[in-house]
Amino acid sequence: MLNFNDEQRMIRDNLRQLLTSETPVSHLRALRNARSSDGISPALWKTFGELGFAGVLVPEEFGGLGLSLFDATIVAEEYGHTLTPSPFLSTSVMATTALVVSGNTHLMRRFLPEIALGRIVMACAVDTGPHHDPRMPGLGFARSGATVTANGTKTFVVDGHIAETVLVTGLLDGEMTVAAVARDTPGVTVRRQWMMDAHNSAALKFEDVQLNQMQLLSDPGKGRDILDAVLAAGRIVVAAELIGLADEVLSRTIAYLKERHQFGRPIGSFQALQHRAALQFAEIEQARAAVLKAARAVDEGAENAELMVSVAKAKAGEAALGASEEAVQMHGGMGITDDLDIGLFLKRARVADHLLGNAHYHVTRVAALTGY
């Protein structure tokens, strides 16, 4: 079923109330203007832990809610409305998925309960270059006895500047491998990246970083499965955030169209603008369905799950960028001032579209996965 049940609707409503009161868009603006050192609200992250949201994907045996990716999209869609910067994606979705899929009980015991309580932030370091290309990790692991040495670089690591531990992909003997590396390990250099959307990530450098065997999530053979699962979960959750963003920016535009007068009439009475707004609505609804379907497909292990993930990320990126760009245009001169929030939606839409592969990347991937 691609609609919400009563429980899911309740989660959504509670979250909306929490976020609009605790971290409305002005919260992001304040963090930006203050050049906040962590760029998130630690208080909100603690609340996420207390209310269970931080552990939505953590299995119950490790103190989480053990819910589905479908449920995780509800959370992401809500913080998309408020542009709340939150470690939910990096920690509760990507890192949690990596740990759960690895089946590594040692690391799961160590990290998952802390994640569920909202006590730690973890990041996943996937990309090495400016364009998403997860098969080229840009980092190598070399084994020598029980020691593993890492060398390489990572960039655009979401929350990498505040994560205590970073899950890093790299090649070990030519096979994809994931390791958990504490950020303060000698040889790790972290450069914070303030992105245009005032969300944060980091560029990491690994120079002869010494790890022990226990820090590897799995045998090299399994690294690719872990990476695939992390990417699928991450892409769906970013897509859900984009849907929330698109929905919000369209609502604000509709409100403006009703209120703003020109030539003696509300500008929302002009048919050309009406049709364009209605088209945005139609695009968002279609993208929303694709995101929900992709989440279900991954949850159920459907055959075309990977394909639907790319469809979802592509359509959500297009819908959010389209709605944000139209929002700027329909707000006219006001839309391009920093006084209004509209520009913040546009910036976040662009960055989140790029994150884990932009709409064009995923459209091309649809061709590749289909086999043409």
Binding site: M1, L2, N3, I254, L257, K258, R265, P266, G268, S269, F270, Q271, L273, Q274, H275, A277, A278, L279, F281, A282, E285, Q286, A287, R288, A289, A290, L292, K293, A294, R296, D299, E300, L307, M308, S310, V311, A312, A314, K315, H362, V363, T364, V366, A367, A368, T370, G371, Y372
Partner: protein, 399 residues
């Protein structure tokens, strides 16, 4: 979401029955000309087609969610969805087209507001594919403005006498019955005074003339009505309340047109393009399309088509949960038209000049491309859908 036990049982039984009863010929990919529309004027393309329709109709599975007493299968939405999934899994063709005027539109409307006598009389032959219906809404110079109906129905006590002209009645020449809007009250206010009638096409005074379209086909007709008698028991809903009846039916129309077509259940046109490329010498083992422009555009279309199938599924789920909104009907209609136009245009491009021939062509791709131009006009144009969305859903003000 995992199937629970009873669901698992239903799924297993359904699959077993389908495997046993669906003839092998009815499990080949569907060809446009072989879709089954039924009706008294219908000619079956094969014995297998006839047999398949009979077997499915006997179980009520041509109209799975209709009550059993009216020829339906009495299934819940969840069961009907499973039936559909299992039919897709085994590549079973629909025994009777679900998008027809009868199964998709009129049937659900009669179920919702018809009298018991109307349900008993009209629904079972629809479910069995024995009567085919056409829609008499549009009139010359009325276009998208349904309220300007000018076909007159004169009250003669136990019956009406109807005079006027309908246009864009699809397949009127192949249909047994028409449902139509006629004016029974004064001209103004335009929305009042309209009545929804069920009209036997065999009645004296009904004259049907096909309209030639740009595709060279004649799916649409003009229908001239001259002193046509319609008994009053053939009024659906109340006299003068046809506007409201038509709104119920129209929302079914938009749902039905769109949910019925799952582009992605058909073969990927990207793979079709690759097949065609491989026909060229030296290209037998190409792994991907060399025309990267075409490849990217096909992929963009297919990504949208997959999203559309999710939208369609979600609309069905929302409707079953009673959360359906007018919004989804319009959204589906808009996307369907655009996607089918895109798909047929890409198919024509895949074919190239071979497919551009009009006489004795190697493919009907050109005609399908032209036919698809009507998708954004028929059944409430895209502009009308956008008006509906902006006014009723987004609440934007009138000028």
């Amino acid at each position: 979401m995992k199937d629970d036990a009873s669901v698992r049982d239903f799924r297993a039984e359904t699959r077993a029955w389908l495997e046993q009863n669906c003839p092998p010929e009815m499990r080949l990919p569907i060809v446009e000309e072989e879709r089954c529309w039924g009706g008294r004027k219908w000619t079956f393309h094969s014995d297998a087609q006839r047999l398949w329709l009979e077997r499915m109709a006997d179980r009520g599975w041509t109209a799975p969610t209709w009550p059993r007493e009216y020829g339906g299968g009495g299934l819940s939405h969840a069961e009907a969805k499973i039936l559909r999934e299992e039919m897709d899994a085994l590549n079973c063709r629909p025994p009777l087209e679900r998008v027809s005027q009868a199964l998709g539109l009129l049937g659900p409307t009669i179920l919702a507001i018809g009298t018991d006598a109307q349900k008993a009389r009209f629904l079972p032959p629809i479910a069995r594919g024995e009567t085919r219906w056409c829609q008499g809404y549009s009139e010359p110079n009325a276009g998208s403005d349904l309220a300007s109906v000018r076909t007159r129905a004169r009250d003669e006590g136990d019956h009406f006498v109807i005079n006027g002209q309908k246009i864009w009645t699809s397949h009127a020449h192949l249909s047994d019955w028409m449902f139509a809007l006629v004016r029974t009250g004064p001209d103004t206010p335009k929305h009042a005074g309209i009545t929804f009638v069920l009209l036997d096409m065999d009645s004296p005074g009904v004259d049907v003339r096909p309209i030639e379209l740009i595709s060279g086909k004649s799916a649409f007709c003009e229908t001239f009505l001259t002193d046509v008698k319609v008994p009053k028991e053939n009024v659906l809903g109340e006299v003068n309340d046809g506007w409201n009846v038509s709104k119920i039916l129209l929302s079914n129309e938009r749902n039905s047109i769109s949910t019925a077509r799952n582009f992605m259940a058909e073969r990927s046109i990207g793979l079709t393009a690759l097949d065609r490329q491989r026909e060229g010498p030296g290209h037998e083992s190409d792994a991907s399309l060399l025309d990267t422009s075409l490849r990217e555009r096909i992929a963009a279309y297919e990504a949208s088509a997959w999203a559309f199938s999710a939208l369609s599924e979600r609309a069905g789920d929302l409707a079953a949960a009673g959360e359906s909104t007018a919004a989804h009907a319009s959204v589906l209609k808009i996307h369907y038209a655009r996607l089918n136009q895109l798909r047929t245009s890409l198919m024509l491009e895949i074919g190239g000049s071979d497919y551009f021939e009009w006489d004795a062509p190697v493919s009907d791709a050109a005609r399908l491309w032209l036919r698809a131009k009507a998708n954004s006009i028929e059944g409430g144009s895209t502009e009308i859908q956008l008006n509906i969305l902006s006014k009723r859903v987004l609440g934007l003000p009138n000028l």
